[in-house]
């Protein structure tokens, strides 16, 4: 089905995607620069951000060049890699703990990266291979059980860290993939039911750490404890709302520069954007995300096989869910979790993951006509 008019460049390169991702990365860098400029050691942070982008672009090129169909024969090793990545921070001497969760891989006291970030991509590939095996028909209980079994391993290990937010990302990724992968509708109902029961049980048996419970309670009632757990949310909403239509100008956000906004270069980067660039800036960002997701959807439908479609779907689900949760938490629509904003938040592991994901999308795109 080779089309003669498609040039070699046109076959490999999807310009709209590259332009969209480039704009997102530049946009993100501008906001991170503004957020870190008034912080102690802000310059160093910004350089680390740029370093993450550079590494990400190199790895993106590798992912792009790599033929994703090769993954099919590597299911076993991929599962082992996934498990190793997730379990590595808990290996004595390799882990570091931040905010109650052990999620950093460090060697000799030097923080390398957060293994749960690349684990998202590995899980997407594993699930794409497994789901594709059913050729769009997942109906039997034993089939569902097998598919969910592959999710259960990384999920269980993530929840052990414990990192509830990242666990939710894994669930969202897989739900999106199952939608495209042909899981019957009634199973989604059953999952919804199981989900509610689990959430109920977790709350009832007090499984959550105190800080997690506080965040949830504050989400339900934001006026609760405005100087404690509700502080972040209240300050974030003030920052975004006070940006009004056009914002206070880059570097002029009072909420941001006077330290009212916590974690402003990472989890609350959107609050900085909302404050300094206003509704205009927020709409611009959402527009870029819309472009990214629409292009990815287009790539997913044009994949030559189901595995490629599923990989693209997994990335779409991951980004959509993270955008919803992250932006949603800064404006009080979602509970506060430590989930960063794709292509925007400071954090090299996360940036690299997003760029490698982009590379995987391009890999699927480049092979749409066969290899």
């Amino acid at each position: 089905m080779v089309r003669s008019h498609v040039t070699r460049f046109g076959r490999w390169v999807n310009l709209p995607l590259l332009v969209t991702v480039a704009l997102l990365v530049v946009f993100g860098s501008v906001v991170v620069e503004s957020a870190t400029s008034a912080m102690a050691g802000g310059d160093g942070l910004f350089r680390r951000h740029l370093f993450g982008i550079a590494v990400g672009i190199v790895l993106m090129a590798f992912a792009w060049a790599f033929d994703y169909t090769e993954f099919k024969g590597w299911l076993g090793p991929l599962v082992i890699l996934d498990a190793l990545l997730i379990i590595s921070p808990r290996v004595p001497g390799l882990g570091d703990t931040a905010k109650g969760a052990t999620s950093w891989l460090q060697i000799a006291g030097f923080r390398l990266f957060q293994p749960s970030e690349p684990a998202k991509l590995v899980t997407i590939v594993i699930m794409a291979i497994v789901i594709a095996q059913y050729k769009g028909r997942i109906e039997e209980t034993k089939d569902v059980a097998r598919v969910m079994g592959f999710l259960a391993l990384p999920l269980a290990l993530i929840l052990l860290q414990p990192d509830l937010g990242t666990g939710m990302v894994f669930v969202a990724i897989v739900m999106g993939m199952l939608l495209i992968g042909g899981l019957k509708a009634r199973w989604f109902l059953i999952f919804a039911l199981i989900g509610s029961v689990v959430v109920g049980a977790v709350l009832y048996f007090n499984v959550l750490a105190d800080y997690q419970e506080d965040r949830l309670l504050v989400f339900v009632d934001p006026t609760r404890d405005p100087w404690g757990a509700g502080y972040n949310l209240a300050q974030s909403k003030i920052a975004i709302g006070s940006g009004e239509l056009t914002g206070k100008g880059l570097g002029s956000g009072t909420q941001s520069n006077l330290n009212f906004l916590p974690e402003r270069h990472t989890d609350f980067i959107f609050s900085v954007l909302g404050e300094e660039m206003g509704f205009t800036g927020a709409v611009t960002l959402l527009g870029l995300y819309l472009a990214l997701l629409v292009i990815a959807l287009e790539m997913s439908t044009s994949s030559r096989d189901l595995t490629g479609s599923l990989i693209a779907t997994g990335l779409i689900s991951m980004w959509t869910f993270q955008i919803l949760i992250n932006v949603g938490m800064t404006i009080g629509l979602m509970p506060i979790t430590g989930i960063p904003l794709p292509f925007m938040s400071f954090g090299s592991s996360f940036m690299v993951t997003n760029l490698v994901g982009t590379g995987m999308l391009l890999s699927v795109w480049a092979r749409r006509y066969g290899v």
Binding site: I238, I240, G243, Q255, N259, F279
Partner: protein
């Protein structure tokens, strides 16, 4: 059953819908927050970062007539506690021990709701350097505790003229509700009594402010806007410090004299000296007195109770204007003037004093203080000797005329109404008449009727007649000033910080009673002879100036007699009027007159000495 390829379109549509819904929800929420409610959030962001700090204006000083400071300001190291620390019992306990203050008092001040919610509560002023450095070294053990420098009142002359100056304190909730105090905040220091209260509006000044930007920890980043405070203005009083000292000393001497004369209940008194031509108050003293410095930084519960306790004789009361007494024989001058004006008597009219006066009927006898009687006596000598019978006769005549002309004249001389002196808390006194009596005894019909004895009692300044020492001084000044009463006042001028007068007191005539100059001259001659040959001759023997005056010895039910003396001098060109009252001090001639003499010697530049007099007449 459809094929998977067909199904896939629907599934992608569902996925696209989820994506669009997620972005759509965020967009709608952002629109609502940033566009619809943006202004409210912008206001909240400003509240976050902008703090307004008020800067108290230095309070104006109070000076005496020569510009000597009576009240100034000084810097004091104060310890304040943030209201957020009000429940930290353990810390407050340690703090109270450190400051050597009762725990209850510290807690009371920290928990005070009478101040702005966030304003730190001052719990102690004039804290020692040791305490300050201890707090600095143990900062972390005293959360919410701060040392700050505050301006407090200073009294270079101690408690001199305490009643005229008054004291300051935190504004009360009642005060802050008044329109005059609109610009005040709870916790502000305001004048509570005396000149501090009377001239509050000029002394206070205008607060400055500093609008600063703070970071999340409340640390100042930079000043956004600043307004300098405008210092309060200085008030120059008419008080002459030297005479004021003498007047206060004279009261002390008078009380000692009274005790020496076995009047052991004598504990209180008042003296006032005014300039006859201007109404300026040169001295105003009240006993017992108090130390206004006790109120610096808030008076302690213990001291406040002590100053207001029963049996304390209420030292905070300025008896010269806030207390009213029967004027007794000092009122005879006005009874006499009424008689002269209405031709009831002349200067040399003859009377006969038998000691026991029974004109109103055998069953209503009245006694002259001289129980043996003065025998044949003319009006002039009746004043000089203070013969009660002469004035019974005059009073009885006024009763028979029935026009209440005696009371009318008394009112023309300012009795029964405020002098309008520029000091708070002045009382009116009372000139009783038939209408008053009927109303006063409304519930006791048997006492409502005005009787001959009522007018006769007024004639000798007894019965229901009440005056303040200041009223009496002003009225006597009127006699000496040929019938012109000047409004008494303590404020001379208001000065700005450069010493320029921005406001000067404008002299004001209080009253011009309808009394002829010749009748006034009759009274002036008689009052002069009081100190030459009459009831005050003993007290004024050897005095270096000619003085007109009148003794009084007031009978008060259930108490020892109150001693009065009121005088004007010098007689050839009257300049000063002085009134002295000693509660339960005994006789006017022996107790009050020497005190008046002491004050007059200061006013007239004569050697100041205290003399003892033996006269026990009225």
């Amino acid at each position: 059953m459809s094929t998977f390829r067909e199904q896939l379109k629907g599934r992608y549509a569902a996925l696209a819908l989820v994506v669009l819904t997620c972005l759509g929800v965020l967009l709608v929420r952002l629109w609502s927050m940033q566009v619809l409610s943006g202004t409210e959030y912008a206001a909240m962001a400003n509240d976050n970062r902008v703090r307004e700090i008020t800067i108290d204006a230095p309070r104006g000083r109070i000076l005496d007539r020569d510009g000597n400071p009576l009240v100034t300001n000084r810097a004091s190291l104060a310890v304040s506690v943030s209201p957020s620390a009000k429940d930290d019992e353990e810390m407050l306990y340690r703090l109270s021990a450190l400051l050597d203050k009762p725990l209850e008092e510290v807690k009371l001040r920290v928990a005070s709701t009478r101040e702005e919610a966030l304003r730190p509560r001052i719990v102690a002023v004039d804290v020692s350097r040791d305490v300050v450095s201890y707090l600095a070294e143990h900062e972390s053990e005293y959360p919410g505790v701060e040392v700050q420098v505050v301006a407090v009142r200073q009294y270079p002359e101690g408690n001199l003229a305490a009643h005229v100056l008054g004291y300051t304190g935190e504004i009360s909730e009642e005060q802050i509700a008044l329109p005059d105090f609109e610009s005040y905040a709870l916790g502000d220091i305001v004048g509570k009594t005396g000149a501090e209260r009377q001239f509050e509006s000029v002394l206070q000044g205008d607060k400055g402010y500093r609008r600063i930007e703070v970071d999340a920890r409340g640390r100042e980043r930079h000043v956004i806007e600043e307004g300098e405070p405008i210092p309060g203005r200085d008030v120059v009083l008419t008080i002459d410090s030297e005479t004021q000292k003498v007047a206060e000393q004279a009261l002390v001497h008078a009380l000692e004299d009274a005790h020496a004369d076995k009047f052991t209940h004598a504990k209180a008194g008042a003296a006032v000296a005014i300039d006859i031509e201007t109404g300026e108050i040169l001295a105003m003293a009240s006993m017992p007195t108090y130390d206004p410095a006790l109120f610096i930084g808030g008076i302690s519960e213990k001291n406040w109770k002590r100053l207001n306790a029963k049996g304390s004789e209420y030292p905070l009361t300025n008896r010269a204007v806030m207390a009213q007494y029967p004027p007794a024989s000092t009122f005879k001058a006005f009874t006499g003037l009424a008689g002269l004006t209405h031709d009831v008597n002349g200067e040399w009219s003859q009377y006969y004093c038998p000691g026991k006066w029974i004109e109103m009927g055998e069953q209503w006898p009245k006694w002259c203080w001289q129980r043996t009687g003065h025998g044949t006596i003319n009006f002039h000598d009746g004043v000089v000797e203070s013969c009660d019978t002469v004035f019974y006769e005059i009073g009885y005549e006024f009763y028979k005329q029935g026009d209440e002309e005696l009371q009318k004249l008394a009112r023309e001389f300012g009795f029964g109404s405020l002098t309008g002196v520029d000091l708070p808390g002045e009382v009116e006194g009372r000139v009783p008449d038939a209408a008053w009596k009927a109303e006063f005894n409304a519930d006791y019909p048997e006492y409502k009727q005005w009787l001959p004895g009522d007018t006769v009692n007024i004639a000798i300044g007894q019965g229901d007649m009440l005056v303040t020492p200041l009223q009496l001084a002003v009225a006597y000044a009127g006699i000496a000033n040929d019938g012109t009463l000047m409004r008494p006042h303590v404020m001379q001028e208001v000065r700005d910080e450069t010493g320029q007068a921005v406001l000067s007191y404008e002299l004001e005539t209080l009253a011009t009673p309808g009394v002829s100059k010749s009748d006034l001259a009759v009274m002036q001659r008689a009052l002069k002879d009081v100190t030459q040959s009459g009831t005050a001759a003993d007290a004024f023997s050897g005095f270096g100036a000619s003085v007109a005056g009148k003794t009084g010895t007031a009978q008060v039910a259930g108490k020892d007699d109150y001693a009065w003396f009121v005088a004007t001098a010098p007689t050839d060109k009257p300049k000063y009027a002085v009134a002295v009252v000693i509660e339960e001090g005994g006789h006017g001639g022996s107790i009050a007159a020497p005190a008046a003499r002491e004050i007059l010697s200061s006013l007239l530049g004569l050697p100041i000495e205290h003399v003892r007099a033996q006269d026990v007449s009225r």
